[in-house]
């Protein structure tokens, strides 16, 4: 029984939140890795793109709520999501036309594009704060839990409860659907194949008649969808605050790099590696070990390796360790 309790406590505090967070990071990292593979630069504006997508979704959600549209037990934000994606796609395509295209034509060095993306980051950050303000926004509605901790306890008769939030379930389901769609698109459709060809060998792709501007356009649209979905899922699961999204840049890049920049499969693996390391290292294992230990041997401290405030240190440490021992990431990078 104690063993079951330990497993349930572990699932409740580490496994389920870790999977949800990992899925969010993975979708974010997929966007970063696609831009790196096809446009060939690290996009520092990605966190703020996520914030922008989430912001539009929140605004549309509020509008829907005010006219009485809702999605039953599911959050209204899911209905608003397509509008968010469309707006973000328009913004990214416009940014590309006004800003990035010029440097692409010039064949500017990647690091120049990174600095340009810093400028875009400033503008998007300012835009989001200008429209919705720098404060926390809550927009989750519908049923909060699929399984409540107390219901679980009554059902199983265990001491420990396992809470399963709607947002976590939505995150996991959405992530699976998004990843399946993305891989189907990249591997099966003509456009997806041309994107992969372009990423593999630009000159050869141009030679075989692939239109680079078309590839770039599709990339931005897919990135807009990925960024908005990641942003909305993160916002539903935790809460929406522009500054937090900016800070997500670090774990997202860590995920993409750990998996191998440019490799979509790697981005997903990296997302889960980073998420689980963060959650495991910062979780206090007192409860779990208390159930597992022999009587009288229960730990009297929290058994927390690091305080939660150091979760950045975890992504960072994983990043450095992987880079030192496997410089191209777990999966070899730069191949879509």
């Amino acid at each position: 029984m104690d063993f079951l309790n330990a497993i349930v406590a572990f699932s409740n505090f580490v496994l389920v939140p870790g999977i949800a967070y990992g899925a969010q990071l993975a979708i974010g990292a997929l966007g970063v890795t696609l831009i790196y593979g096809i446009l060939r630069f690290s996009n520092f504006a990605h966190g703020d793109t996520m914030a922008f997508g989430a912001m539009v979704t929140i605004l549309v959600t509020w509008l829907m709520q005010s006219v009485g549209i809702n999605f039953g037990p599911l959050p209204t934000a899911l209905l608003a999501l397509p509008f968010g994606i469309a707006a973000t796609a328009l913004l990214l395509l416009a940014t590309d036309k006004v800003v990035y295209q010029f440097y692409r034509k010039q064949k500017a060095a990647p690091v120049i594009l990174v600095i340009v993306s810093m400028g875009v980051m400033f503008i998007m950050n300012g835009l989001v704060r200008f429209v919705i303000g720098p404060n926390n926004q809550k927009f989750a509605d519908g049923e909060r839990f699929i399984i409540k901790a107390r219901t679980f306890k009554e059902m199983t008769g265990l001491n420990e409860g396992l809470a399963f939030k709607t947002s976590q379930c939505i995150t996991i389901v959405t992530a699976i659907v998004v990843v399946a769609l993305l891989f189907w698109f990249l591997n099966r459709t003509r456009t997806g194949k041309s994107m992969r060809a372009f990423s593999d060998n630009e000159d050869l792709a141009l030679l075989s008649g692939i239109n680079p501007e078309r590839v770039v356009m599709y990339t931005w649209m897919i990135v807009a969808a990925l960024a908005t979905i990641a942003g909305v899922l993160y916002g539903l699961d935790k809460s929406f605050k522009p500054f937090t999204y900016f800070l997500l840049l670090l774990p997202i890049f860590a995920s993409a790099i750990v998996g191998g920049l440019g490799n979509p499969l790697g981005a997903i693996a990296g997302g889960f590696v980073i998420a689980f390391s963060e959650v495991t290292v910062t979780y206090a294992f007192k409860k779990v070990l208390g159930y597992l230990a022999l009587a009288g041997w229960e730990p009297d401290t929290l058994v927390q390796l690091m305080s939660t405030d150091y979760k950045f240190a975890v992504s960072f440490a994983i990043l450095i360790i992987v880079l030192l021992f496997k410089p191209t990431g777990l999966f070899s990078g730069k191949a879509i």
């Binding site: 990647p110 990174v114 600095i115 875009v120 503008i123 300012g126 200008f130 790099i257 150091y310 960072f316």
Partner: protein
């Protein structure tokens, strides 16, 4: 235009902007902006060394600036005797054990024959070291933070003159830069960027959470000053009579005097740094750096140790940022870890360097003053602009209220636009590299 004519004109224009502010908003405001402008210029010089001379992409400036601020606290704050008695020794021992563990693990990795034994020994060393460290560290933290938590709750500093903290801040930043550089400099530029972004967040997390060291978000206030306090000046009869002889109000005169004193101190540092950087940039060493930046492979073929030179300039540039951080904490008289934000302390400095002209020291300095001035002044200008735009809307309308509230965020937007415009139309900056 001839650069020898254009550059002084550009500096004169920026100086003129400060003079206009002095006339419109009063000399107090103008001098306040000017002092931070001096510090910003020093930070920009540091980033310019890394990016402009050597092409290193460091976006962890904030971390090094914050470490410099910690230097000011460690050097200048008076020591807290009770806290030292309660847990100081144990804390020092814990830190020594922590360092020794890492050094031992690194040595084991470097010296031993590759194989399973090596991995095993390193893991055991790290795990054992970690638990001994925590066993020593946790009670020490508790003991130190229990000593008058509302007033001190930290170890305090050494109680030395605050000016000494400037080189110490630089040294702290240099030490951190050495650690980062050793691990991350061999990596590609994007990876280095992410690594520096990460280290900056970690340094900030340490400053925010290790209350025994820096009081965390409780802030260290009352860092001693290198210049007299306004109130002391106002109480000194000599100063009051002198102010009266100039026909000035003593309160006003004292605040101006203090600000001018700071400006003098910072100005000396800035001029010294410009002189050193100019000498370095035009020396064989500077030429080598630019050669490495422009073509790493060719320089390596010429026998230049690229990794070592990169490490060197990375440390130098970060040390300059740390120096600026210590100066800033001295100017503010307080260390407030909660106020360090990457947009303000990393990316804004980058805007300064790019706009001013990367690779040119004078450019970085000009960018520092200009962008800092804009950063401060865009907010009132934005407010005025929004007032003008919304003047047609009825008072009390929700849109008007929202727009007026959001005016403060105009500065981010403006900085982004300025950066993009410069990158597009004058990619080498206002004062390009020679």
């Amino acid at each position: 235009m001839n650069p020898s004519l254009k550059n002084p004109i550009l500096f004169a224009i920026v100086f003129g902007m400060f003079v206009v502010t002095g006339i419109v908003n009063g000399p107090n405001v103008a001098l306040g902006i000017f002092n931070m402008g001096l510090i910003s210029a020093i930070m920009a010089l540091g980033v310019n060394m890394q990016w402009g001379y050597a092409g290193l992409f460091n976006i962890g400036v904030m971390g090094f600036v914050a470490l410099g601020g910690l230097g000011a606290v460690i050097v200048a704050m008076p020591p807290v005797g009770d806290a030292w008695a309660a847990g100081g020794g144990r804390m020092m021992l814990a830190l020594a054990v922590g360092t020794a563990t890492i050094v031992a693990a690194v040595l084991a990795w470097g010296r031993m024959v590759p194989g399973r034994t090596r991995g095993l020994i390193m893991t055991v060393l790290l795990i054992a070291g970690f638990f001994i460290f925590r066993w020593l560290f946790d009670p020490a933290v508790e003991a130190i933070e229990a000593v008058n938590p509302a007033g001190t709750g930290f170890l305090g500093g050494l109680g030395l003159p605050v000016i000494l903290s400037w080189p110490v801040g630089a040294l702290l930043a240099a030490g951190a830069a050495w650690l980062v550089g050793k691990t991350a400099l061999g990596l590609r530029s994007d990876y280095l960027a992410i690594a520096t972004l990460g280290i900056a967040e970690i340094i900030l997390a340490v400053l925010k959470n290790e209350d025994w060291l820096s009081r965390g978000v409780k802030n260290v206030v009352g860092v001693p000053r290198p210049v007299p306090y306004e109130i002391d000046l106002q109480n000194s009869t000599e100063f009051v009579t002198r102010a009266a002889s100039w026909g000035m109000d003593p309160v006003f005169a004292s605040s101006i005097t203090v600000k001018l004193a700071y400006a003098g101190l910072f100005g000396v540092v800035l001029l010294g740094l410009i002189w050193l950087s100019q000498m370095a940039l035009n020396s064989p060493w500077g030429r080598m750096m630019r050669a490495i930046r422009d073509n790493e492979v060719a320089s390596e073929a010429m026998g230049k140790d690229v990794t070592r030179r990169h490490l060197q300039i990375f440390i130098l540039g970060s040390a300059v940022c740390g120096l600026a951080g210590a100066m800033m904490t001295t100017l503010d008289g307080q260390l407030t870890p909660g106020t360090y934000q990457p947009l303000r302390f990393t990316f804004l400095i980058w805007v300064m360097v790019i706009v001013g002209g990367s690779g040119n020291n004078w450019g970085a300095v000009l960018g520092g003053f200009l962008i800092w001035f804009l950063w401060v002044q865009v907010e009132p200008i934005g407010l005025w602009l929004i007032n003008l735009i919304t003047s047609g809307l009825a008072d009390g309308s929700a849109i008007k209220a929202h727009l007026l509230n959001s005016a403060a965020h105009m500065r981010l937007l403006t900085m982004g636009v300025v950066l993009l415009l410069v990158l597009r139309f004058s990619p080498r900056g206002l004062i390009p590299e020679n």
